[in-house]
Symmetry: C2
Subunit: 430 residues, 2 copies
């Protein structure tokens, strides 16, 4: 039956399913973008690692290696930009891309800094700390796109996959920052107390990320992760951390340890990449499965609705012919209508229950993102109010959490709640 | 400058704004639908009121009046269905209509019951209770569309308007149910204890709705509401409620009081309609204002981005000509680029802060809807688990809230949390 002739109820049920499919197609495109970003981030992390080695002056022979890593980044960046051209043109149909697009603009803006940064690195016109900071910010901008994709996804399975991937990427990025910190520390022979505090923070934040990742990852990805954690490499990395913690200005270590640290952590990060690849595959698989399910649902829904629609038309026909006859007919007609109404209602109820269940699952997965957002915002608030560094803001939140026996996000939430409460009227100047 | 030649960063900033405008245009269409629904609901409430009078047998002369009220409903329903044809066709571009469309399908499905119901009413083949229940369900379906519109709106001002309107409509609907209950009670000479309990619930629920409405309504709408509450009509309605509370099987009252009750409450509901109309106007005004603001933002944004884009092209030009010259040029070039980068970053930061502020305001307005959702779901849970009526479920929640000194939604939240917790593993059969 032609759709325009369908009763409006059935037409809207069909439109709802179709809207779901459209949303999912849109989401699938975003997920492909996310996997591209994940690859680009990995390449940037490698380039950052070698840039630091190069800047630390201990490995001048690595200029060629650095150039080839930069080229790898350029190639992935080119692919990402091609993808974005495509999204820019086609993604405008759907309505709530404002936040995602703004994040993308941010990430692209950061990427524009790369050529100038690379020149400075090669000419040794920038410190290791500044180069690292720039690349941390650049990678942070890309991670923010992944976060936003997770936060706006509307399919629970895909959202869970995205939450797992984002947290893993973030954890791996912190591992990369840990590597950079170690390179700097060992290069100067010892770790300052600020560096050691930062090291503890990086370790603690990694733990939080991997804990959230563990809650949302597939069993296969989780298995890979457990293997990594139990590997000799991890044990050695722990031992080097212990050495770092014992260094002092008057208890320096051989700066050659920096190369060992770098190699160990590079191997660790490369193994992490294999978990990340698994998570990317999980994500794309969930996209395909959800899309297939919705397509086949739409198809069977369409058939059911066509059937109901035909019954409806037949009932209309009967009504037309019986319009002048007795009231007895109207009872028979009521019977057909009642049957129709019951079938339609059953379909509607199934659909509503499914949407409710999806909504609940989504809420649960987004909770993990929300907690992260609260902590970040509480940090920003402390930085603004108390003029402290990000590192100090984090340390304060952590101390408050330990003192009060609360989780980090609970402390953050209380802090933010205090800030949004209106000032008591009595305290206003008269 | 042609948009395709713009740097990707600027193009995405523009795309973000355009996406916002598209979302708002979509939302404006939904808001017009909501005002239509509000009018249809009012007409249906009138038809329900007169249907009850007609069925109570005390006013057989009102058949003509009833027919004209039915015609008024038909005409508004026809207009709504025309609007929906339009939305059905054009609304498919944007992605997250699944829930809204499902609610609309539900509402339409319910509306299909009207003709059969009207036949039964006119032939006295249905009890007043059953007719009321059917119309309560039908109006409930329409209110659910308004709720969903409020829950999915992405503009804070519009969301606040929708939350105010939904709560007022819901409160007015409960006032309509109170009127029907009173008509039935006075018609039989006294109120049973179940009827009185239901009356208290209706009053309490109205209070909750009007409290939320008050938090989100415009000052003008609020002023109208306060006038209504202070009117002699309200005082008289209170007095009649007192009389109803004192009736018993052995202390019956003149059933003529039913007509007075009906008139008083009809006048009250009609005055409420004027508040509702004010809320509808507020809503459409907010739509227009937001749309104008976004359009002009888009326009000025476009001009700014064009300017930046031209600067960018000029810088590129310089770079091409100076590619073989000394490094001194690259510093000058870096200066231009740095300026450009700063301007772009400032724009990006403004946009991000605005989005964050909008997100916070949205969260606050949606909180009010969330509380309502929790209470409804907790009721459904009690009905399912304990096999009690909705009325009994509500009473239990209320008792629990009073005993524990909590708000209704807090009790609901705790109940739901208990239900979603996994059963302890030890209690499983071995």
């Amino acid at each position: 039956m032609h759709e325009r002739k369908m009763p409006a109820t059935l037409r809207f049920m069909l439109a709802a399913r179709r809207s779901e499919l459209l949303g999912l197609e849109d989401l699938a495109q975003t997920c492909e973008l996310v996997t591209r970003i994940s690859q680009l981030v990995h390449a940037l992390q490698k380039e950052r690692g070698y840039s630091n080695l190069y800047l630390s002056g201990n490995a001048p022979h690595q200029r060629l290696q650095l150039d080839s890593l930069s080229q790898a980044v350029d190639s992935l960046e080119g692919q990402l930009r091609d993808d974005l051209e495509h999204i820019d043109q086609n993604g405008l149909g759907s309505a709530d891309k404002t936040r995602l697009f703004t994040r993308i603009a941010y990430a692209l803006h950061n990427l524009d800094e790369l050529p100038a940064l690379r020149r400075k690195i090669r000419e040794h016109r920038i410190s290791m700390q500044d180069a690292t900071a720039t690349l941390v910010r650049l990678i942070g901008g890309l991670l923010a796109v992944v976060f936003e994709a997770a936060d706006t996804a509307t399919d629970p399975d895909i959202t869970r996959s995205l939450v797992a991937l984002f947290n893993f990427m973030q954890g791996k990025e912190l591992a990369g920052q840990e590597r950079a910190l170690g390179v700097a520390g060992f290069a100067s022979g010892y770790f300052t107390s600020e560096m050691l505090e930062r090291l503890e923070q990086l370790l603690e934040s990694q733990e939080r990320c991997f804990e959230t990742f563990s809650r949302f990852a597939s069993p296969t990805a989780l298995e890979l992760w457990h293997q990594l954690c139990a590997s000799p490499n991890s044990t050695q990395a722990c031992r080097l951390r212990e050495i770092a913690r014992r260094t002092r200005p008057d208890a320096q270590v051989d700066c050659q340890l920096g190369e060992l640290w770098f190699e160990l952590h590079t191997a660790r990060i490369d193994t992490m990449k294999s978990v990340e690849t698994r998570l990317e595959q999980d994500l794309l698989q969930h996209c395909q499965q959800s899309m297939q399910r919705i397509r086949s649902d739409l198809h069977s829904h369409r058939r059911l609705l066509d059937g109901l629609s035909d019954m409806h038309a037949a009932a209309e026909q009967t009504r037309l012919f019986s319009v002048h006859s007795s009231h007895l007919d109207s009872t028979a007609e009521d019977g057909v209508s009642a049957n129709l109404a019951r079938s339609t209602l059953a379909l509607l109820q199934t659909q509503t229950q499914r949407l409710q269940a999806m909504h609940d699952e989504l809420r649960e997965a987004r909770q993990a993102l929300d907690e992260r957002k609260q902590v970040e915002r509480a940090k920003q608030l402390l930085i603004k109010q108390q003029g402290c560094s990000e590192s100090e803001a984090h340390a304060r939140l952590r101390r408050a959490a330990m003192n009060q026996g609360l989780r980090l996000d609970e402390v953050a939430q209380r802090l933010l709640a205090l800030d949004t409460e209106p000032p008591p009227t009595t305290s206003r100047p008269r």
